[in-house]
Symmetry: D2
Subunit: 370 residues, 4 copies
């Protein structure tokens, strides 16, 4: 049986969710509750939640517009240790960076497959940093990742997805790189949503009627992650070769609940650069691998290019395709770089949980869950 | 009597306000109600307001935290025609760009001195575009401005102040240009306040929980006005010589009531560029001409440089010095340009009415109101 | 064929939408685009839109999170006159109260069935004011409504739905009246969403970081509409008998995009009054007629009663059941009246377009569209 | 020397501030920095801040639009123990309710005068609960308060001010009680500002684009405090006699930074009740004792009665008289009670720190600081 047919005829794969009571964990639960390929098998959280039913563990902390799904209400939350998840085919991690490092590592050692939303292993030289709309080819370092460990896991690995503000911009950047060759310089200024900070996250006193022109560590993440994601694997699939781009970011928090808006100016290595019409066409025509593979959560269209002068806008466009695609607008000449545009991505969907889930769907299609 | 002593011993100059019922006009009234140099003499608005007391004309439209000042409540609003303002020593214009063009021109022809907040004459080759914290030297084109008209006014002129988003950035740019020589490239991404759009301005439906990544004409204004303001007068004081800068702007509206936040990256012509410490010192040490001249509305310090990593912020910093100074923070290296920083300016004070009033104070000190 | 089977086997009824470019009209389009009983046949708007494709007519005014549906993009918008809608089985009116009066009346005279969201005929002595979750029995005045006209229409009528803030509270009020007999006094204080004011509606300058403790005409609407909706038809179905309730309202606008929150205190005529537990049970057990009839848009549960102390909340609960149900929370004793609670309803769904559409579904089930 | 002359000729009284790093403490500092009667002598906070300069202790937590005043920047923060404050003539407490109970009690035992913003002693049978615009006469229980303690302090006492939402409404209630005799029933529904919850207080995730219809303990505070504040001292000044009012409150949090808006409906015992015009006149003519005594922080007018139908509004009216007065609007008939109106008060000024400071000013004038 080919992996392409997995989702229709195979039994569903058992999944565990680490950090299940947090905001990313809550999103994992909503995405996986009625998923054709996966079924929720185990929920992990801190020791203060362990032993409680999920409904009790999240009482007062469930902040979703949909109620706690019936299939997890009575599931008992467990501590994030290997024995509690040993039957899981896939483990999604929504852990904070504190516990994520040792927990995810121990899970991999125990031959578990970890799809992590945490930052800890993103820049690791053998861990893929995969935005599913961009670089699922990086999965091919997995055999090498296993080989570097002793003992070498047979099935286990760690795959990470990117920071939410990186995720938004690399999608159009990849479309342009595919069409016109290497990019050179990328200037980005972000206006990021409240939900990106988790819960309780920002004090309302800090962000109400305000802009906070600083998010700790965020500019560094965009500047480093982008080159890895846009880069290639080496020919022997043993290392990452960064894309030759220079990225400079200004990161800001604005009073918007969901949806990161990012202003991008960039130059190409190619001279002369492509025209605005060519850039727009390349963005519109980009088809990501997740679409080609027929993944359940993949958007039907990867990038929506808006013609109206004042779009995309977070409140109107963040839920396009359940937040799985990326919106681009205002594609125009730049006085300093080659082209300017605005990107809007849903930071809690494609910018977080949806990326992890789509990565697992891709891994399934590619046979990495066999 | 020297003009330097004017404010202490002279009788107050009579001022008229055009567009007195609008948001900029309301600010003019608050700034001029207890001013040591000026007294409100005439108020002008559209024909629908003319003939009413000011209190009645603004009923339901007065949107200030302070009540309508007692001294203007019963003043009768008049149409914006020359005869109604012929006794005014100074006329402040808060007119919309539609009527501003012909009205301001007719007032100048009638030998009236016009300080305009409208965009119409900003890029005019004989009209000064003056940010009072930056380039009051441009007033010296006034004799030539008069000479180009026939008949040539004896006292009349038009002086404009800049667009609110331009005003914020040119202050630190000027400080750096003074200290380190010509700037080269300037990239700016703005997060502009609701009040910048006037009243009723933006629909709440458009900006609530949202970002609008577009403000009509705004990017063009920043890109053109900056070079004029940072430039010089020719030696014969007959023309403007633009500064050799290239500016590229992304302009965005965010849900903040007052205060424009702007992320700036720039490069100097000078190699090597100044260090971050030198840049910070130049910003801190900058003293604008309005301060040196002792103008009433001038800030005691032109630029506040914040050391905290998350400042300036509009809600906390926009009222620093009654909004007459400019806040700068996060001065740091840029991966692409030489330096990055954040600017916050009060768009309704220094970005609008305060600039016009301070320009008139400078003109008084320099003898242009004699 | 019984009307009960209409929706499964009949061809879809042709519907027209008046005021199709406005905010209520846009909602009608989204609700009716894939409706099992109805298909959009004609769109009406003002003369400035007439003759344009719908997509062009709403360019820059379409403010929905979903794109303009494909089936109406190219439909030509027409003026709101009878000849343009004569083939419609049902006409939904999202007109402003200015044109709504004469237009709706002329449509009824031309034997068209009008479901109106406008206020004009709500208090008319022969027009039903129907909240579909509350009083569809009022449809039975339709024969008398026709009989009062000369010539008497065979099929035509006007049915109205209630003001958005009235709609929210009458649902739990009806549940309590059904369970415990007549209510006596009802005190309500509202916190209403921005979207209730339409587009452009409120200036952002007025509602940002603010509360406006006044909505023109709103308190009067709640105070009068409630008694009509909770009342009965006379035995001969020729007149409305108001419920013997006294209502006092404080209406406020708050910075929330969708969802009206209303604090209610009420007393029953019955002594002793029911206990809090009885009140909660009556709310939970209430099943509206639209549910019983199996209407497509009816909620599966009419009222959700929250046990958490801090719910319902507009951002979390307004989309429950696509906004077709009503949320109640904090049911508790009142120090002055018998019981206190909080109601949340989705003002743009059950509070507006969803009510009209559900009324038409009920009319279909009851045979009034035959 | 009479106490009336104290402020002009006496040396300033030394004041200590407990909880100086919190939000109420920060307000105390701003109010007392340039006060004619008081000078800041000692600052107290938790042990984690003790030993640091005030500027260092509040780094990252100072959330005021004005900078940390120069006179306290270098003051060393101390633990909240008696020895550190023994030289203080007055101690202001902005402590949380946890530590406030034992700390304030120990300070009183050590003969210190405590003006507390905490809730602990508000309902204490010998502690005055004083809103300075309403009931400074309650100070006269102080001798009895001392007499109940053993050993009895010579100078020490505890005076509390009210909860912020209570403070707003009792001012107009007192004006009406003074004019028309006892009130009967009072229904209030609040829309309270974010800042009322302190810092970090509410998560932005909870209140952005939202209403929270619940504030823990708030309704109970309004319902109990109002009767004590509107009541009298017994003739022997040994106990409080509550006013015979019944209060029912709905308390809500709305996304507004400062300013509590409260909708009030009330009935008088007197039949027939006063007319709307009489009610408006009574509110306008009310002069509080703090004004009569000439206290520094007293408003020049206690209550502003707005005639515009849509005022007061928090963003426009909260800073009237530096937030020391109370705004009332929409005075009108109620369908159920005698009269309805809207109250707006500044919760961080008269609703918190300003009340404590004004209470101390009154105590000074009345000789209780001698």
């Amino acid at each position: 049986m080919s992996s392409q047919q997995a989702s229709s005829s195979s039994p569903k794969r058992k999944v565990g969710i680490l950090g299940a009571t947090g905001t990313v964990g809550q999103r994992f639960i909503l995405l996986l509750t009625a998923h054709p390929d996966f079924e929720i098998h185990a929920l992990g959280a801190s020791s203060s939640s362990a032993g409680k039913s999920y409904a009790k563990a999240v009482a007062g902390r469930w902040k979703q517009a949909k109620a706690v799904p019936a299939n997890v209400r009575d599931l008992i939350v467990q501590e994030c240790t290997v024995p509690n998840f040993k039957d899981c085919d896939v483990v999604f991690s929504g852990l904070d960076s504190g516990p994520a490092g040792p927990v995810e590592s121990s899970f991999r050692e125990a031959d578990l497959r970890v799809f992590s939303n945490a930052k800890n292993y993103r820049m690791d030289p053998v861990c893929p940093l995969v935005v599913p709309l961009v670089n699922p080819g990086h999965f091919d370092i997995i055999p090498h990742q296993r080989a570097t460990l002793s003992p070498s896991p047979k099935k286990g690995f760690i795959i990470t997805n990117a920071n939410c503000s990186t995720t938004g911009i690399v999608v159009p950047l990849k479309a342009l790189q595919d069409a016109f060759g290497p990019l050179d310089k990328i200037m980005v200024s972000t206006m990021q949503a409240i939900s990106g900070a988790g819960y309780p996250g920002l004090s309302s006193f800090d962000i109400h009627d305000n802009v906070v022109p600083y998010i700790s560590g965020e500019e560094e993440k965009i500047e480093s992650e982008t080159a890895k994601i846009l880069g290639d694997l080496s020919k022997d699939n043993n290392s990452f070769v960064n894309a030759p781009v220079t990225v400079s970011a200004h990161c800001n928090r604005v009073p918007v609940i969901d949806g990161h808006t990012e202003c991008v100016s960039l130059s190409f290595q190619r001279r002369p650069p492509p025209s605005i019409e060519q850039v727009q066409a390349a963005l519109r025509n980009y088809v990501c691998d997740a679409q080609k593979l027929g993944c359940h959560s993949a958007p039907a269209q990867t990038i929506e290019v808006h013609d109206e002068p004042d779009r995309p806008q977070p409140r109107l466009d963040r839920d396009w395709q359940n937040g799985a695609g990326v919106n681009v607008g205002r594609v125009r000449d730049c006085k300093i770089f080659d082209v300017r545009f605005v990107v809007l991505s849903n930071n809690v969907q494609i910018g977080a949980a949806t990326s992890s889930v789509m990565n697992a769907e891709i891994a399934l299609k590619k046979g990495y869950l066999d």
